[in-house]
Each structure stands twice: as structure tokens, then as C-alpha cells.
Symmetry: C2
Subunit: 210 residues, 2 copies
């Protein structure tokens, strides 16, 4: 309904399968794509600027932060990672939906800077199921799994900061539910009202219809 | 996701085609049905109590209103028409979605009494298009059409009381959009959180997941 694209923020605990769900959702949908992050880390062999990441110097990155041109960012291992606002807004203006797969802290930053963003949280069917999935990976020891679970628990407790929850029990159902949410959000009254109201005889500049 | 059904309130100006859209939506969906209204008017030949209407005496109706057992009501030509709360809640508890096709005044009453209700407003593609549709019916004179348009304009100006807008430009698209909204609403965080949170290690009674 809106011609502008939607900024879609997706979070969820490690092990919930949000990456798999999003890849399945994006597949075959031309009007949606992942945001390309900016980073200050050095490109790895084969990585392309503007495709894998926007590679910036630390100074360039921090200048962008200062100018309010980074929607959210975080520091890992001494490098900055963030979402360039201008790139996102350019894509949205072209009618593209943009997906940001980020953690809760990042999502809260986006929520503050882009109040129109759609925030979706991916939940496991239960806490116990999440534990089973993490154990099933067989890549981590018990202490690491327990640490991940404690973080997951903290993240899940912030779900009320999001607008929608998708419980990832069955992949196809989760993708369908995510799709319903993205489509429905286009006709949320608050989004719809930001378009032209005078067409309908109300809002600024409206004239009687008769 | 919720096992409980959803109460779905649908309004829109006369001529917008909401009845056609809803009939198309309900067709083939077993988990949704229209609410049966209560009325104090006399049954017409062939009308069945509990199917077409719940036929009540004026005293019975007003007793129900007093007991808070009518979700919304209005008076037309000396008769009362309203939505029986117990019937709606019984159906919702059985997992049925219930559709109320009512005017803005009725919708506002439901919103107050059932804050969890989903409110959807059906809009024409434009005010001018609505006028053309009303003219196209060729059943009314210009004065009547202008009166309908003035009422429509007042109703449309209250769209911000609703959660979602469906623009009825193309019937199939409108039905699809309506369906997205109904499905997405099941995973709205506020609805989802009313279910058991302790499953996820947060909320009352939650224990650490590890």
C-alpha cells in the first residue's frame, strides 16, 4: 500500500534459527534485501566493498556516528560494526524492504532513531527447546551453552520492546507468519496515515467530498 | 499461535464494499464466523432465533446492557440491535475468530469493553472513487448520495481509532491484506505476552533456563 519500503529489524536468541528463517523468506522476494553493514575491520580475501560490507576507516566510521548517519552500532574485538543510515534510507525510498538481523541492543538503537521501523522477535517454542537446539549443535561445551542460555533469557525478557513475535517451531509456518507480519505492517493505521489523507476528505487541506 | 480466537471489528463507509470483502474472506475458512446480533425487533418470516438474530424482548435486552453483557448496541427505528458478549466470548474460547461488521460508534464501544479486539477499517481507494461507487448503484438521488458522503467523511476521519486500514481497490488484494492482518495480529507482542511467559524463563514464576 505504501510505496516506501519498510525497515524490518529481526532479533532472537542464538540458536533460534532466525538466519535460516530469513534466508527462506528473502528467497524469491525481489522487493526485500538484507542491509549491508559498515565495518572498520579489514576486508578478507574475496570480500567486496558495498556487497559484503562497507569498509570504513575508524575515523570515517566515527564521523558517521557523530553525524547521526549510523542507525545502530557495536564494537567487537576492537572493530566497529554498524548500519549506515543513508544506504538504508536510499533503499527504502526505492521501495525496497530492508532487513536488519541484529541483537536487542542494536534493535533498541534503531527503534529510537527510526520509530517507524518494524521490530520482530523470533522465539523458540520454549526455553527447553532452545537448550536442546544448542546442545544438538555439538560444537560447544556445557559451560558455553549455559552462558548462551543466560544471554538468551535476558534477550527474550526484552521482547516487549518489539512489536511482533514469531515462534520458530516449524520453518514453513514461521516464514509464513513473518510474511503476514511484514504485509500487515504496511496497513497499520499509523503508517497509513503518514500518507496523503486529503484524498479521503480529512486531514490537512481536506475538502468536503460532496 | 494463540489458541483463543480473535474478536475482529470491521468498519468502513457505506459503498466501500466491506460486506463483499468479508463474505469472500469467510468463505472456506472454518475457524471464523460472523457474530449473531441480538435485537428487539420482531422476527420476520423464516428468521431463526440464534441464527439470524437472537430475538429478545426490550426488557431482556436492557437487562443485558445493564449487566455489561452487550458489547455494543444502537437503536434504529425504535428497536435495539447489539452484540451479546457471552456468545462472542464463548466462541472465542472455542478458538473461533469472530467478525463484527459494525459502524464507528459501535466499534468504539467494543474497543472500550474489549481492549484486545482487532479493529480494521476498510477505505475506498479515494473519496472520489467512493462517490463514483455510490452513484454507480443508481438507487439514490444526489441529495442522498451527498448525505452518505458526508457521513463517510466523518467516519473516515476516525480511522486513527482503528489499528489497521485495508484499501479496497481490488477485491482479491483486499481479502489477502485482511488475511495478513488477522494472522499477524495473533503474534502481536501484547497478545503473545498474555500467554505463558515462564516457558521462556521470564515473567512471573520464571526460572533460569540453565
Amino acid at each position: 500500500m505504501n510505496k516506501k519500503g519498510q525497515l524490518i529489524v529481526v532479533s532472537g536468541p542464538s540458536g533460534v534459527g532466525k538466519g535460516t528463517m530469513l534466508r527462506e523468506y528473502v528467497k524469491g522476494r525481489e522487493s526485500v534485501r538484507y542491509s549491508v553493514s559498515a565495518t572498520t575491520r579489514a576486508p578478507r580475501p574475496g570480500e567486496e566493498n558495498g556487497k559484503d560490507y562497507y569498509f570504513l576507516t575508524k575515523e570515517e566510521f566515527l564521523n558517521r556516528v557523530e553525524q547521526g548517519n549510523i542507525l545502530e552500532y557495536a564494537q567487537y574485538n576492537g572493530n566497529f560494526y554498524g548500519t549506515p543510515k543513508d544506504m538504508v534510507e536510499q533503499a527504502l525510498a526505492q521501495g525496497q524492504d530492508i532487513i536488519l538481523e541484529i541483537d536487542v541492543q542494536g534493535a533498541l538503537q534503531v527503534k529510537e532513531k527510526s520509530p517507524g521501523a518494524l521490530l520482530v522477535f523470533i522465539m523458540p517454542p520454549s526455553g527447553e527447546e532452545l537448550r536442546q537446539r544448542l546442545i544438538g549443535r555439538q560444537t560447544e561445551d556445557e559451560a558455553t551453552i549455559n552462558k548462551r542460555l543466560a544471554i538468551a533469557q535476558e534477550e527474550m525478557a526484552q521482547v516487549q520492546e518489539y512489536q511482533y513475535v514469531v515462534v520458530n517451531d516449524n520453518l514453513d509456518q514461521a516464514v509464513a507468519q513473518f510474511s503476514h507480519i511484514v504485509e500487515a505492517n504496511r496497513s497499520l493505521v499509523t503508517n497509513w496515515l503518514s500518507e496523503n489523507k486529503s484524498e479521503y476528505g480529512f486531514g490537512p487541506g481536506a475538502k468536503p467530498l460532496k
